[in-house]
């Protein structure tokens, strides 16, 4: 049963308070709604609402001609009307109150956008993102353990039998080694369900061993998924033999096809692309590095967690498998500055923002330091033409600076929480400066473009 709480009050507190309360109770009964009405009248507060009552209520009705303290109803939909409304037509008040939406909390709103976006992904993009999301925990675990190994000295892992060597074996030799197979496996899984996993992971292993890297892994994943899909539809076995389909026919045939294609057809050309890319990235001039950081930064801020942002992110994460850590640093930094810059802007120029936005600004700090770029979306949605260019400029600055300083990052996520881990970040001081610079530039741009809120 739906539950409401209500407060009634009137100037003298003699009659209307009670009539309104009674009328709400009668109407609620007729509508089959549970209600508790607190009266603030001449006799004082009666039938006082407890914290429990309020917590369990779907909505709040305040029917009062005097001021009623609303602070205890924080987070509930509140319908506020003059007391006589509840006497005149309590029924429609109740109906209206129950239809009201909860005032969405800023963090909840960001979460909802996040979920909606994941659900809206379709086709190849969805499959790629499924693969990436399964891969990331492997990279996080591997990256951090490798970083800890380095904390014992950059070459400490070379002494066999020592802890640094063990950490490197866990992080680098195992977790990181699984990165591309898992990416490839779960792309295929997303396309063809369980039977996709086997050729996907095997194809991913081959991408690593042939030197095709994460690009090869992405291709092997799609190849495996669609191969299994094709096999499932084209092989028709007699009913009695259907049982051997998932355990024998599909795994063997799909691995054979994907494996042979990876080795003889795809592996070599992708390897040369990867090698060229790796060589270019490692031997890149400062100017090119800055340019790459700038582009990655623009991409990260452009759609705040959307496909463009994810493209930059996937690119940088994939490169970790090839031991290239600078784009990852640029990408994470550039993904942090949009919420951080907006939070800073709400702090220094309150007159440009609504009260809700100023409140949201506080939460944006937390989302920003956690590398949740989506934290900028509520601001961008309210004023896209001013906010999106501002955060793109800020992120471009951060991305470019991070690349210029050669900052590296071995972990694909975590925001500032990975910064204290020794060796997770290379050139930490300048990396922090890059983030701060982008934050300040973002805030400055917002203030420059955004007019005072009316």
């Amino acid at each position: 049963m739906k539950k409401l709480v209500a407060v009634t009050a009137c100037p003298t507190g003699i009659a209307h308070t009670y009539m309104a309360a009674e009328n709400l109770s009668i109407a609620a009964k007729e509508l089959g709604v549970e209600i508790k009405v607190e009266t603030q009248g001449s006799v004082g507060i009666e039938n006082e609402l407890s914290e429990e009552d309020i917590k369990s209520a779907d909505a709040v009705i305040i029917a009062a001609a005097t001021k009623v303290d609303k602070s205890r109803f924080h987070g509930k939909p509140i319908l506020e009307v003059p007391v006589e409304q509840a006497i005149k037509d309590a029924k429609s008040l109740i109906e209206k109150a129950l239809k009201m939406e909860k005032p969405a909390d800023y963090v909840e709103r960001v979460e909802e956008i996040h979920k909606k976006r994941s659900a809206a992904r379709t086709g190849a993009y969805k499959h790629l993102m499924t693969g990436v999301s399964y891969m990331i925990p492997f990279v996080v675990a591997g990256g951090i353990l490798i970083a800890i190994s380095f904390a014992f000295g950059i070459n400490a892992f070379k002494n066999e039998g020592t802890l640094p060597a063990a950490l490197m074996q866990i992080g680098g030799g195992s977790a990181f080694a699984l990165m591309v197979p898992v990416l490839s496996g779960f792309i295929a899984y997303s396309i063809a369900d369980r039977p996709g996993l086997v050729p996907g992971m095997v194809g991913g292993m081959l991408a690593v061993s042939t030197g095709a890297g994460f690009l090869g892994g992405i291709i092997s994943g799609f190849l495996a998924g669609y191969t299994v899909d094709f096999l499932k539809r084209s092989i028709k076995l007699p009913k009695t033999l259907e049982g051997i389909m998932p355990v024998l026919v599909l795994p063997v045939l799909s691995c054979l096809i994907v494996g042979l294609l990876m080795i003889y057809v795809i592996g070599t050309p992708i390897k040369s692309i990867m090698t060229a890319l790796t060589n270019w990235l490692t031997g890149m001039s400062k100017a090119n590095a800055v340019l790459l950081g700038l582009i990655l930064g623009l991409m990260m801020a452009f759609d705040m967690g959307g496909p463009v942002n994810k493209a930059a992110y996937t690119f940088a994460t994939g490169l970790l498998a090839s031991g290239i850590y600078t784009p990852m640093a640029a990408v994470m930094a550039a993904g942090m500055t949009p919420p951080l810059g907006l939070a800073l802007a709400t702090l220094i120029a309150k007159d440009r923002f609504t009260d809700d936005e100023i409140e949201a600004g506080k939460a944006a700090w937390v989302l920003g330091i956690s590398f949740i770029t989506e934290g900028a979306i509520p601001f961008a949605a309210a004023d896209p033409l001013k906010v999106i260019p501002s955060i793109m400029v800020g992120s471009a600055v951060t991305g470019a600076l991070s690349m210029l300083f050669g900052a590296t990052l071995r972990v694909p996520h975590g925001g500032i929480f990975v910064l204290p881990i020794p060796n997770a970040v290379g050139n930490l001081p300048m990396y922090v400066i890059s983030i701060i610079a982008g934050t300040v530039v973002t805030a400055f741009m917002v203030l420059l473009l955004k007019k005072k809120a009316s």
């Binding site: 003699i14 009659a15 009674e22 009248g41 006497i87 005149k88």
Partner: protein
């Protein structure tokens, strides 16, 4: 505590003469003055009129409950009146009022009296109570309609 403690037979007028808002309030006040609950009729009228200005106590459904809190009131009291033809009371539903409850409350009031009035106010929201009041042709029946358990 019974309703008759504040609303007695001699405070009921089943055939109000007035035809406008101001005079019907005064007519009801004189009922309370006669029974000794009001010390200063003019002063109490001011209190009721002041209250009426914030928004009309014509709550619709043919009912009006003008009320006032004033030191001109000696004891909490209610007067009830009925007008067959109805009186324009700026009611919420725009229709004339037929049933009138004038509620008088002293500055320093007994909580029990206020509770009684709040219970009465709640009663008026019930259709069967209103119906009984409309049909009541004697003072006894009015009190019966409002009687509390």
């Amino acid at each position: 505590m019974k309703i008759s403690d504040i609303l007695s037979k001699d405070r009921i007028n089943l055939n109000l003469k007035s035809s406008d808002k101001e005079s019907v309030i005064k007519e009801l006040i004189s009922l309370l003055a006669k029974t000794g609950s009001i010390a200063d009729k003019e002063e109490f009228f001011e209190a009721v009129w002041e209250r009426e200005k914030t928004y009309s106590t014509g709550i619709g459904m043919g009912i009006a409950i003008p009320h006032g809190k004033s030191k001109a009131v000696k004891d909490a009291a209610i007067a009830f009146g009925k007008s067959e033809r109805g009186i324009d009371f700026d009611s919420l539903d725009g229709k004339p009022a037929h049933l009138f409850f004038l509620i008088a409350v002293p500055e320093e009031s007994h909580d029990l009296h206020l509770k009684l009035i709040s219970t009465l106010s709640r009663k008026l929201m019930h259709e069967e109570v209103r119906k009984a009041l409309y049909e009541a042709d004697t003072e006894e029946k009015v009190l019966e309609a409002l009687s509390f358990d």
